[in-house]
């Protein structure tokens, strides 16, 4: 098996150009949960963990840039993320347990593309941009267009996620995150919800809502968003938001939960978040 652990981005891209079938490795918290034959049978691996350019959190030109390999422990503890993107800090703190957070990366959560990935609804409401790096060069994709179908992403052959860019959110917006699983820690979500919204002059002026584990990919609930913007901020709209959210999704029955339970819980979570917004 080919195995590379490049020390720079330049070397990383060179390897990918030579061998587009190399499997990128980040925290390996998804990849190593596999049969030994499967991981030993990979054509080759490219460890991204020692590439300094792919790790870290920094403001650049009005956006906070987070390297794909940055583990959730760093995202959880980052003062920049806590201050401007609390919805993401909260999501990071709810992923797995301590050991998982020390290794699991933001880019791995995105590339693994599970509909239950906890950071993904947060990235959707933050309207993140994703910088992809590959043999053809660099391109930027709105995160809303990154997931193409069940576990299908915009990543082409030999392409990796380089960074995520988070534009500064609207001043004074409320950011809320809620994960519902079997227990507090170390449980894959049955439903996960993120909201970024603002009220001004008694009206809902901004309302971005996303959820995971309720469809083939994490989704923005645009029907709810459209119905909420412009409404006056009173408790009655919360019921409407919950009701519309339940109608907007297509959850499935699986080992973790049922479609019916997911719809019900989603409606409750959205209703409560909206109540908190208008209170």
């Amino acid at each position: 098996m080919r195995a590379f652990a490049p020390k720079s981005l330049e070397e990383t891209l060179l390897r990918l150009a030579e061998h587009p079938d190399l499997r990128p490795l980040a925290g390996c918290t998804d990849l190593m949960v596999s049969e030994p034959e499967d991981r030993r049978g990979l054509p080759g691996v490219l460890d991204l963990q020692s590439v300094p350019e792919l790790r870290g959190i920094e403001w650049r030109g009005g956006s906070l840039e987070i390297g794909a390999v940055t583990p959730f422990s760093e995202i959880r503890d980052s003062p920049e993320v806590q201050q401007s993107f609390p919805v993401l800090a909260e999501a990071a703190s709810k992923i797995g347990g301590w050991q998982i957070q020390n290794r699991a990366s933001l880019g791995g959560n995105m590339a693994n593309a599970s509909p239950a990935g906890d950071s993904l609804p947060a990235l959707l409401v933050l309207e993140a941009q994703v910088v992809l790096l590959g043999p053809e060069g660099r391109r930027t994709v709105p995160y809303g267009e990154f997931h193409r179908g069940y576990r299908e992403t915009a990543l082409g052959p030999g392409e990796i996620i380089g960074w995520v860019q988070l534009p500064k959110p609207p001043e004074g917006a409320t950011q809320l995150f809620r994960k519902v699983g079997t227990r507090e820690a170390q449980a894959i979500s049955k439903v996960v919800v993120a909201l970024l919204a603002s009220v001004s002059d008694g009206q809902i002026s901004e309302y971005r809502l996303a959820a995971g584990s309720v469809a083939e990919t994490p989704v923005r609930l645009t029907e709810v968003e459209e119905a909420m913007v412009g409404q006056s901020a009173r408790a009655a709209v919360a019921d409407q938001a919950g009701h519309l959210a339940a109608q907007a999704v297509r959850p499935i029955d699986d080992v973790r939960s049922t479609a019916e339970y997911r719809r019900f819980v989603l409606a409750q979570v959205v209703r409560r978040m909206t109540l908190q917004l208008v209170a």
Partner: protein
């Protein structure tokens, strides 16, 4: 592939498949059988070791990511400063069947290094990824209550 690393303060050279698990390297190549396998898929925490000082699950770390790493296992904690915590852990009833114990000791020691006097909730959060089916965690919590300065 060949890699050099430092395990419990000693430099070692290992060789094998890049996607072998650190857990197997420790147990089978380095004869450090203190680290246990529970689930083998990241859920139970029994295999916790320190990788460059941070608690991680050795069942999910491939060899290719061990090059130049510093690893500390439960064997390394049996001597030195951590010894008195270990004794307290045993005396307070933190161990029953012992399957989870090496992982819990490693995670607990990492917590104490960051935070010598953790609250009950901080202990609970740190140990959220370490499952114990025997003790109900009470004996484990007691081991933290009798630290120096907390009496």
């Amino acid at each position: 592939m060949k890699s050099e690393l430092v395990v419990n303060g000693k430099a070692v050279v290992i060789e094998g498949h890049p996607m072998d698990r650190l857990l197997d390297i420790l147990r089978e190549e380095l004869d450090l059988t203190g680290t246990k396998e529970g689930c083998g898929e990241g859920e139970c925490g029994a295999c916790t070791v320190l990788l460059n000082g941070e608690p991680v699950l050795s069942c999910l770390v491939p060899r290719v990511q061990c090059e130049s790493a510093t690893i500390d296992t439960v064997e390394g904690l049996a001597t030195g400063e951590s010894r008195s915590f270990l004794e307290r852990f045993v005396d307070s009833g933190g161990v029953q069947c012992g399957a989870c114990t090496p992982g819990i000791i490693v995670t607990a020691w990492a917590l104490l290094c960051d935070n010598p006097h953790p609250s009950r909730q901080e202990v609970q959060e740190a140990l959220a990824g370490n499952l114990c089916r025997c003790t109900g965690y009470e004996g484990i919590h007691r081991a933290f209550e009798h630290g120096e300065g907390s009496e």
